[in-house]
Amino acid sequence: MDEGRVGVVIGPETRAAIDAECQKYPQKRGGLLGALHLVQKEHGHISADIAREVAEIFDIRPIEVMEVVTFYNMYYFTPQGRHHVYVCTNLPCSLRGARSLVKQIEAHLGIQSGQTTADGRITLGHEECLGACAYAPMMRVGDDYHEDLDLERAITILDGLE
């Protein structure tokens, strides 16, 4: 699968971090999930080129990388907005108005859940239980949880994202 290869895409720092991650496990493959988090941090999503390079690092086939990328919710294989905003819409959150909140956020941003704003700032989505059930409704912006939300607080947070 050498046709169309662009060259080295994964940076040296990320490669070093991937090596360190793999040291944790008795088999190198154990480091794959961690490696994908690292390359995604560097590049925003996991393209076909990146998947091929990751496959080389782990001495597996590119399809085996893509199997993992497509299985887990936190990996993306298409370009994303600069910020991921996920509102939990599972049962405890829905009972406290999460779905109404999502609709209001959609109206405010001018996009539907699953889409990215035209300026590339925000990709909006809904997510399953994030372990914040007593602090509902809530949303995750990348690594950060924002809990006990009302529309005003949510909009303040979203408008503050560059």
């Binding site: 493959r29 154990g30 794959l32 887990y72 919710n73 405890p92 009972l95 007593a134 949880y145």
Partner: protein, 431 residues
């Protein structure tokens, strides 16, 4: 809302103290004494028998005896043995493991160290769900502190026993909370569960003998070593000793965490501690143990929260995620939310689960829209019945049970949708 539990006990009593998060602060409250005792003065079998005698049930949802699970690890083997800490907490309604990691990482690490001595494990993999970025940071900090102090690594605490702990992050998949799905994910693959047997004690992480336990299960262990099995059995019920951290959410005045003895009644938890339902509303139903567990109607809140009693009511303790729904709630809408989740999270291996979760969701969705028929209720029961006990793992059961529970106690809600050709609960939460 208050993050630390509103009611604390031996697990969480110091969670409001910021110093407790540090190793020094944890030790100031008596931390790591149990591990020192276990590593220096107790034989592996002594520890296993102590925890068996104490009757500690796993707190991850299945409630299996922790001591018995530890005893399954082979003694005469030259294969490396591993422990896995299941920190994948993704059961809707559950958020107790999160606080145990954010405010009590050292307590959990101490429990792991004791379990390691008991089972002869040389390494622990803590698998934490990918979305718990902040708790993971706190946990890694605690692991680093323990290594720095010589409590982990070679010759822990000068005892001659060595043990390593590493943290692995998940990437968003509920099925990775299933122990063999977790093991597959730990190995860098799709988290699709394995057939059992072989069980993890025979073939586990990277093919080696492994024991998987929940965050809270490990957290109870230092206290059992410090205070003994009689003390532990003095709390809770005869078959279900100790405390559990219940997470209450939904239509209550005080959603939050409550560490209470097992056997506390559901009504005490919901009406007394969590303040009941606000704004003059009344309880319609309560899911007692995380979203996989069948719902109970308002008239059955007298049930003591322990497996031996909940099973009589055709439900289970699960992860103690108590979700309260008031009388405005449309149970068909609740079914839409629940079945969508299981449809989305099915790993797809088993036909009954892959197709069954899809059918359950499609049918309740069309019923909510008003396009359901009398036959649909029968189809739901038929599909759910064919999913139970038929698959590689218990996910299909977990997906079928909630629908069965809703039909058992709220069949009327479903029939009303058919009769009226639309949802008869306009005041219900928005879908």
């Amino acid at each position: 809302m208050l993050k630390v539990p509103y009611i604390t006990n031996y697990l969480t009593e110091h969670f409001g103290d910021d110093a407790f998060v540090t190793l020094a602060g944890y030790e100031a409250k008596g931390g790591y004494q149990a591990a020192r005792k276990a590593l220096n003065d107790m034989a592996p079998d002594d520890i296993v028998n102590l925890v068996k005698d104490a009757g500690l049930q796993g707190r991850g949802g299945a409630g299996f005896s922790a001591g018995m699970k530890w005893s399954f690890m082979p003694k005469d083997t030259d294969k490396p043995k591993y422990l896995v800490c299941n920190a994948d907490e993704s059961e809707p309604g559950s958020f107790k493991d999160r606080i145990l990691i954010e405010r009590g990482s050292h307590q959990m690490l101490e429990g792991i160290l004791i379990a390691a001595k008991a089972t002869g494990a040389e390494k622990t993999f803590i698998y934490i769900r990918g979305e718990y970025a902040f708790p993971a940071k706190v946990l890694q900090g605690a692991i680093d502190e323990a290594y720095e102090k010589g409590y982990l690594g070679a010759n822990c605490m000068g005892s001659g026993f060595s043990h390593d702990i590493v943290m692995a992050r998940g990437a968003g998949a509920y099925i990775c909370g299933e122990e063999t799905g977790l093991l597959e994910s730990l190995e860098g693959k799709k988290g699709q569960p394995r057939k059992k047997p072989p069980f993890p004690a025979q073939y586990g992480a990277f093919g080696m003998p492994t024991t998987v336990n929940n965050v809270e299960t490990f957290s109870h262990v230092p206290h059992i070593v410090n205070r003994g099995s009689d003390w532990f059995r003095g709390i809770g019920t005869e078959k279900s000793p100790g405390t559990m951290i219940f997470g209450v959410s939904g239509h209550v005045v005080r959603p939050g965490l409550y560490e209470l003895p097992l056997g506390t009644s559901l009504s005490e938890i919901v009406l007394e501690h969590a303040g009941g339902v606000p704004d003059g509303h009344k309880i319609k139903g309560v899911i007692p143990g995380g979203m996989s567990m069948p719902i109970l109607p308002a008239g059955q809140l007298d049930v003591p929260m322990a497996n031996e009693f909940l099973r009589e009511r055709k439900t289970m303790l699960g992860t103690g995620g108590v979700m309260v729904m008031d009388e405005t709630t449309c149970m068909v809408r609740a079914a839409c939310v629940i079945t969508y989740f299981f449809r989305d999270e099915s790993c797809g291996q088993c036909t009954q689960c892959r197709e069954g979760t899809g059918w359950l969701n499609k049918i309740v969705t069309r019923m909510e829209r008003g396009a359901g028929t009398e036959d649909d209720i029968g189809i739901l029961e038929d599909v759910a019945g064919k999913m139970e006990g038929q698959t590689i793992c218990a996910f299909a059961d977990a997906a079928a049970w909630p629908v069965q529970g809703l039909l058992r106690h709220f069949r009327d809600d479903f029939e009303e949708h058919v009769r009226h050709g639309k949802c008869p609960f306009p005041g219900s939460f928005e879908l």
